[in-house]
Symmetry: C2
Subunit: 220 residues, 2 copies
């Protein structure tokens, strides 16, 4: 069945792979599924046709036959549940891997997105510097706890899972912030994810949207 | 198998049911599973014994035999996957319900938690009023989109699911903010959730921790 996902027509991050289609592309590459892209302008994302797919007018969406899904975490979970390679078979290990998916998106991402939003929309406000130091402290607390749990392990819970995929996608939002400098095990963890062939294929494909400005179809 | 969850020993919200044990209690009541509570002081939450269960030193956790889970979304998902009543059987409807779980925790909760955090820790800052109006606008945008999708329906996608459970738990954080006043269909949606017998049992049990100050064990 043909899989179609949506992404930004023009990359807001200049192809750094920080948009939310990236974890979905990465997951599809990990499980070896072909997919088609539908690229949307910011205006098209707010049109009724797209709001029918995504009530919050965002990307990505996932279409497969009559199934329409939105929300990157849910799409990655759907892929992980239907194709082998992203969740362990053993029930308790599987439950813990799903736990890391929610932890990435609900607990670790929260202060990181708050910091991202501040740097985007509050940079010119008189309070920006004071708030940034509060936000940096909050991010450090969270990623420090994550680093303590990861320790020297390669992945969060044994083998690579959709939990690592989402966690690495969330942590990558901190690149350029300097906040990861004190956590070498986390930068190594991110690099470990980025060096996976599936990640590299997904990254190249999202970058091509920015550099070529046309509509690539992902490789098999 | 005995299920044990953790919660705050002394309720920070004075028993309003806004702590994250509430959706877990509610889910367990919906599927008719007994559970035991382990109540923790704020100090105990940062001890190694609890950090072994929850790397971010928060509540709730879920223990069932050798399985230890943290992250309320993951725990609700685990309950929904293992006991009937919280996810549809039809595969596409099930995937969409899981989509609403992620949407609640990753998309709708983000601006609501950011607003909560500001009212808790930035209230005395000189920028508080200016920021609050930015945050209110952001929350209104998100819940307006949610209201548009919900329309006049009882639940987000047909029958009540774990997606509604988490969405209602997230929206309840806005009680007292006044922000829900313009969205009567959302307040009706919240009330619809709160009037479910399972919700009411869960609410009474978390309230009892605050009013009685002892350690109740939830009813079957």
């Amino acid at each position: 069945m043909t899989i179609t996902i949506t992404a930004f027509e023009s990359s807001p991050d200049r192809g750094q792979g920080l948009a939310r289609d990236m974890p979905v592309r990465w997951a599809l590459e990990e499980v070896g599924q072909r997919y088609h892209m539908r690229l949307l302008s910011f205006a098209a994302m707010k049109h009724d046709a797209h709001l029918a797919r995504h009530p919050f007018g965002q990307i990505p969406t996932y279409e497969e036959g009559d199934l329409v899904l939105f929300e990157s975490g849910a799409i990655v979970f759907h892929i992980a549940e239907h194709y082998p390679g992203l969740l362990p078979d053993e029930p308790y290990a599987r439950a813990r891997a799903i736990g890391w998916m929610f932890a990435a998106l609900n607990t670790v991402e929260q202060p990181i997105v708050e910091r991202d939003t501040a740097t985007l929309v509050e940079r010119d406000q008189p309070w920006f510097d004071a708030r940034l130091s509060i936000l940096d402290h909050r991010v450090r607390t969270r990623i420090g706890q994550l680093a303590a749990r990861l320790g020297d392990a390669d992945w969060l819970d044994g083998v690579f899972s959709a939990g690592d995929l989402l966690m690495i996608a969330v942590l990558r939002r901190l690149s350029g912030s300097g906040l990861l400098n004190d956590y070498p095990t986390l930068t190594a963890y991110i690099s470990r994810g980025e060096s996976r062939p599936a990640y590299q294929r997904a990254f190249a494909d999202q970058l091509a949207v920015f550099t070529r400005g046309d509509s690539p179809t992902a490789r098999p």
